[in-house]
């Protein structure tokens, strides 16, 4: 028998691995390209919180349904895709009628039916937005909504908003059959691909295919069962492992690391799902009044280390100290990267040649990786002579603790603290750094005023390219001024069985669509 040399053994091993990889790829490709199959039930658990507690009376109302599920039974006028670009949904065209971008005409898709068989018209849109503008924070900018024709609705805004189309895609902005302000939405009737069959408040929702759905050929599934496992990831994953669930939405990065090697499941990733803002209070006596201290902190943080340790290197991304997500086309990376020498120099110029001890940085475990995230941050800034005591606070009551008020005499000034930030369009994201919002640490001064002036210009700039240039200028101000720090963010994930096909995740979980999900 011929002896086997180490080199030939290695060659054989490599060839075998390559063959298996090719086979796996071709099988995966075949799986992805297989023709969609109709029918079947998708049963999934979702982990995100619905803070508006539903009960038997309102469990079908869109404001009380967990946002991840709203696009099953409703549609909005527009939809934000996975790249955060806006697309038409129930609208076919959205156009401003004036140069100030205050009045917008929305042309509606014709022939769209509600689950009760009625045709959707502009009266339904007007009625829905009468409710939204009173109850949804993002829709409060709408001053008036009127019908212009059967299929055209006119929106009048408080001030111009070039990105108004994004507001129409928010999870609260669904179109419901017209009704009074007291009763609209209570029946759960929408235009979406599935209609509600049964609900158990805060717990589950059973839905069946709507045959009159306006998107041709959709949906593929006959039935969807949603089980709420808010804050109960282990219970949800036990259900997945035991075969009770086909998928679990919004699992955390640690669970991803455990599950991704299991051949029974697929992990779907939505890049740029969320980030964390660290607000830097600028009240009298705060070290953050000095811009150089803020800049030094921004330079000293090892953002790559945070991504590496808190997100395993591949499930996170480096932030740019604005509220924009990395996937946003307007996102401009922070120039320079980590620069410990510069941080030390800035501190010395600010009167701290031997380093500085900052106030306690508070965080709450809003997501599982948060403690690790802030431990890495704490360690990394030590290189620049910055000492940051960190303290974990309970989620319970954290909002009040973090925001406090704006009056030092009351002894409850807002804190040097973090909070999670969701993924939104540039207009909303950059507006969050306004001085009036606590997340900016109540930033003031000429650069703030210039920032807000640019924002106002962007909001009345029709041309998207020109707006993007203004957004870049705004981010440059943030990079220089550092009113707040957003060091790094994470992706969002769902886990599903291999038999579930075409179920990509979305950085805005309320925009996930189930129209073309199918089961093999």
């Amino acid at each position: 028998m011929k002896a086997m040399h180490r080199r030939s053994l290695l060659k054989a091993g490599l060839a075998g691995t390559a063959f298996l990889a090719a086979l796996d790829r071709s099988l995966g490709l075949a799986q992805a390209q297989a023709a969609p199959k109709r029918g079947g039930t998708l049963s999934y658990a979702q982990l995100s919180a619905n803070r508006r507690s539903a009960d038997a009376r309102n469990a079908r109302h869109p404001y009380f349904v967990v946002d991840a599920n709203t696009r099953l039974q409703w549609n909005c006028l527009t939809w934000v895709n996975e790249k955060l670009d806006v697309e038409m949904e129930l609208a076919t065209k959205i156009e401003p009628t004036d140069d100030r971008l205050v009045v917008w005409d929305v042309a509606l898709r014709e022939g769209v039916r509600f689950h009760d068989g009625r045709e959707m018209t502009s009266a339904d849109v007007a009625s829905s937005f009468e409710y939204h503008r009173r109850n949804a924070p993002f829709a409060r900018q709408i001053q008036r909504i009127e019908t212009v024709g059967k299929y055209v609705a006119r929106f009048t805004l408080e001030t111009g908003n070039a990105e108004f189309a994004y507001i129409l895609a928010e999870y609260n902005s669904v179109i419901m059959p017209a009704g009074s302000l007291e009763t609209i939405g209570m029946d759960g009737i929408g235009t979406g691909p599935f209609k509600i069959v049964a609900t158990d408040a805060n717990r589950s929702m059973i839905m069946e295919r709507f045959d009159g759905y306006w998107r041709e050929g959709a949906p593929y599934l006959d039935r969807v069962e949603i089980h709420n496992r808010e804050g109960q990831q282990e219970s949800a994953l036990n259900g997945l492992r035991a075969g009770q669930f086909d998928a679990v939405l919004t699992i955390d990065p640690r669970a991803v690391q455990q599950l991704q090697s299991d051949p029974a499941y697929d992990i779907e990733t939505a890049r740029g799902g969320y980030s964390f803002v660290i607000q830097l209070p600028k009240h009298p006596g705060s070290p953050f009044l000095d811009k150089r201290v803020r800049q030094a902190l921004a330079c000293a943080i090892d953002r790559e280390a945070i991504v590496r340790v808190a997100y395993g290197g591949k499930h996170g991304w480096i932030g740019n100290d604005s509220h924009l997500m990395v996937t946003d086309a307007a996102f401009v990376p922070r120039p320079g990267g980590r620069d410990v020498a510069k941080a030390k120099r800035l501190l010395a110029e600010a009167g701290f040649p031997n380093g500085i001890t900052l106030p306690t940085l508070y965080f709450s475990p809003q997501l599982p990786e948060v403690p690790r995230y802030f431990q890495v941050l704490q360690q990394s800034v030590k290189d620049a002579g910055i000492t940051v005591p960190i303290e974990e606070r309970p989620n319970d009551g954290y909002i009040q603790f973090r925001t406090g008020d704006n009056d030092l005499s009351k002894g409850n000034f807002h804190k040097f603290a973090m909070t999670a930030v969701g993924s939104r369009n540039p207009g909303i994201s950059l507006f969050r750094m306004r001085g009036a919002n606590v997340e900016s640490g109540h930033w003031r001064g000429p650069e703030h005023d210039r920032y807000m002036a640019l924002y106002e210009t962007a909001m009345v700039t029709r041309d998207a390219g020109r707006r993007k240039a203004i957004y870049a200028e705004m981010q440059a101000i943030l990079h220089e001024e550092v009113p707040a720090i957003l060091p790094a963010g994470g992706d969002t994930f769902l886990v599903k069985r291999k038999s579930v096909r075409n179920m990509p995740y979305h950085p805005q979980i309320w925009s996930i669509r189930f129209d073309h999900v199918w089961k093999a």
Partner: protein, 317 residues
């Protein structure tokens, strides 16, 4: 006897009034309110402070505490716990089915735990300091010491994942009939049952050891009464009396306190509803749950007291 019964009932009512005031004060000092926690950070960032203050006024969140205490006590007397702050639904409606479900789970556990614990406790006491007693005592310590979430996890891995006999997580609805819920709940029942048997067997064993060592048992044996009569008809009632209050309180704690098990298995009971209400600062729901739990505890304690009065004439003085 009548005076003793009246005294216990009056004490129970006083306890409930004090508990009601305590519950109100405890919910008052919680940070934040229902509106604050309803809004996400993203939404909060878009709302001007003056609009937030107006929303709080509209929901009555700025009313003085004293005014709310009076309304709370007046409502409690009529079993009206008020409306939820955000969705304006009676709190009593929200907790009715979860309360039924928790009573159901506790009932199933007790129905199995009491006879098993009795058998083990009696057997261990009868074979005091012998192999059987040592085995029961050691098993009880282990069963009582292992946290419920560990037992739950092991049971899920064994009987839901590796050998899929039972559901790992309960998908039955809150208002499903009792038999549907119970059929879905063998693993939660088993999880609580292990700890319950361990706890009850331990306290029953102690009571039985004392009873079997007492003079009247010795006298019965000397007079030639058969051993099984001594054990079951004479020692057992005497051995159970000291354990009655502890057993009643344990049963009450099962109704109001199986939070961990409810969360692990997503069982639609009172514990899960309480966690949700606390998270959302729905103070009326928290108050309703706390008070109904208190009523169960005080009520079962009263039942145990009355049973002791019936069984033990010495306590009637």
């Amino acid at each position: 006897m009548i005076v003793a019964v009246a005294r216990r009932i009056a004490l129970s009512l006083l306890t409930l009034v004090l508990l009601a005031i305590f519950v109100f004060v405890a919910t008052e000092i919680m940070p934040g309110d229902a509106l604050d926690v309803t809004l996400s950070a993203d939404e909060l960032a878009m709302i001007p402070p003056e609009r937030l203050a107006q929303m709080k006024r509209e929901l009555g969140l700025d009313r003085p505490a004293a005014e709310r205490l009076v309304a709370f006590l007046a409502g409690t007397v009529q079993l009206d716990f008020g409306l939820t702050i955000i969705s304006r639904t009676p709190a009593a409606d929200i907790i009715a089915y979860p309360l039924r479900n928790s009573v159901l789970l506790a009932g199933a556990v007790l129905a199995a735990a009491i006879p098993l614990a009795l058998a083990l406790g009696v057997a261990a006491a009868y074979r005091y300091r012998r192999a059987l007693d040592n085995a029961v005592s050691a098993g009880a310590i282990i069963g009582y010491s292992v946290p419920e979430f560990v037992i739950a996890t092991v049971l899920v891995i064994l009987f839901a994942v590796l050998w899929p006999l039972f559901p790992a997580t309960i998908t039955a609805a809150t208002r499903d009939p009792a038999h549907v819920l119970l059929a879905a709940a063998p693993l939660p029942v088993a999880t609580v049952l292990i700890g319950s048997i361990a706890y009850l067997a331990r306290i029953l064993r102690v009571g039985m050891i004392e009873a079997l060592a007492s003079d009247f048992v010795e006298r019965l044996r000397l007079t030639g009464v058969p051993e099984w009569r001594v054990l079951l008809l004479h020692a057992l009632p005497a051995g159970v009396i000291p354990s009655l209050t502890a057993m009643a309180l344990y049963a009450a704690s099962l109704v109001s306190g199986i939070v961990v098990v409810e969360l692990v298995f997503a069982y639609p009971g009172l514990g899960q509803e309480l966690v949700r209400a606390v998270t959302r600062r729905e103070v009326h729901v928290i108050q309703a749950i706390a008070l109904s739990s208190a009523v169960v505890v005080v009520g079962l304690n009263l039942v145990a007291d009355l049973a002791i009065l019936l069984l033990d004439p010495r306590t009637r003085r």
